[in-house]
């Protein structure tokens, strides 16, 4: 058993490129979730046609909230995963199961998102509603499906518990971001200054 304090002894450093790539892909998926949840929390409050600024701010806030909520789960994960090479191996199997569920969905969402921005408005309307809207509706179930897949593949109770905590923390990012930064009702003054009266 390795010491969690002794970073140099972590089995993480012995991982091959494939395992690192998988870990990186999952981190991208998780970070994307935080940004998206933040954008959703921010949307529908400025009324402007161009709201890239508020969306960026929402994405940053969602990511911050994601780190705050998932940070403790990550620490618990690290303590268990880095305790031995055997435990890390269990988590690598879990990662494969998570990636099998999350990565294709993220690729579909990302492709639809990009296509929606380069295609005519009719295609964008359909992609937004049919693909992105449906994925958004299914988001909690898809998140849970990844966790269940990881638990089934590893047959490990700790993985299941940490996975459940991670999914719960992830799903709380949107509501927590709204509660922290976007709970105040919008008032007229938030929409800009009143224009000068017409002559």
């Amino acid at each position: 058993m390795t010491s969690v304090i002794d970073i140099a002894s972590w089995p993480l450093w012995d991982l091959d490129v494939g395992a690192w790539a998988l870990l990186g892909a999952l981190l991208v998926v998780v970070a994307q979730h935080g940004g998206t949840a933040g954008i959703h929390a921010a949307m529908g409050r400025d009324g402007l046609i161009d709201h890239r600024r508020s969306e960026w701010l929402g994405a940053v806030r969602g990511t911050v909230m994601l780190v705050a909520l998932m940070g403790p789960v990550l620490v618990i994960w690290a303590v268990d995963a880095f305790s031995s090479a055997e435990r890390l191996d269990v988590y690598l199997h879990a990662n494969q199961a998570l990636a099998a569920v999350y990565v294709p969905i993220t690729v579909i969402a990302f492709t639809a998102f990009v296509l929606a921005r380069v295609t005519p408005w009719q295609v964008r309307s359909n992609l937004n509603s049919v693909v992105l809207g449906t994925l958004e509706l299914l988001r909690p179930w898809l998140a849970a499906a990844g966790m269940v897949a990881a638990a089934i593949v590893t047959r490990d109770a700790t993985v299941a518990v940490i996975g459940a905590l991670g999914v719960a923390a992830g799903l709380l990012v949107g509501p927590a971001t709204r509660r922290r930064w976007y709970s105040r009702p919008v008032r007229l003054d938030d929409l800009g200054e009143s224009p000068p009266s017409e002559p």
Partner: protein
Amino acid sequence: MPTATEPLEVLDVLWESDPESGERLPVRKADALERLAASGQHKAVRLVERIPASADGTLDSVAVDEIFLAVHLELARLSEFVRVPQRMASSLRPVVDRLREESDGPVRVIDVGCGLGFDTRVMCSTGALGPGVEYVGLDFNALLIEAAKRLAHAESIPVRFVHGDALDPSLAIDDPDRTLMISSGVLHHIGRDDLPDFFARHGEIAVAGFAHFDPCPGFWTDAGAWMLHRTRMREPISRHDGALSMRRALRGEELLALARAGLADGYALECHDVATWYPQPDQIVRPIVGWRR
């Protein structure tokens, strides 16, 4: 206004204006609750029960303002997501082109019941209907008009927003021959009983044409609306009213009959329902178009 037995949207019972002056009138909470209870809308009753009231029993105007802004801001965002302004522009462009061919001068597009004016602001800022088009938004709700003015000012979009009766010719119509009346999501609010009069007013003013967009009822419209309101809207009243508005929408044939009842043969009318056996979010609203003969 809808009759007492027709389902009401929550926003319908939260705002009252003097029909003559357009001035906002206080709304008694008990009256609002009674109207919803009379149509058996218990969920809507619960939503209104949460709104604070003053000691005299009238709904707190600040709370109502916040609800109106929240719902319409979310609605604007949903409109953007489904590309409603682009949908409207694609149908309006040939109508505006035809007006241009008939005579010289600017074409005025008047958005009736414009709310926050999102659709007109998008069409104006993107030049979606081409050059020489003036945009005016009208609404009976002074709060929404003030918000629309501020939003247009913030992005320097030259749309004029006016508070008042949208079909009062003195407010925005200079030249009926060059005027096109439009709306989005307004017809189902007016309701069956009042739609013939609404259309008849177009004939009295003798505007060159109109194109009023409303959801096309059907399974996919209901299902899509439910999904989009679940995922894109957070205000419980937005979700309630959004889903209900789809169910209140009228079929094309019925709209045409009501328009004919008001306009007789004064206008050539068109309204095509979209196919309902597969989802078409880009056609979530479709227009009834009228041309003065």
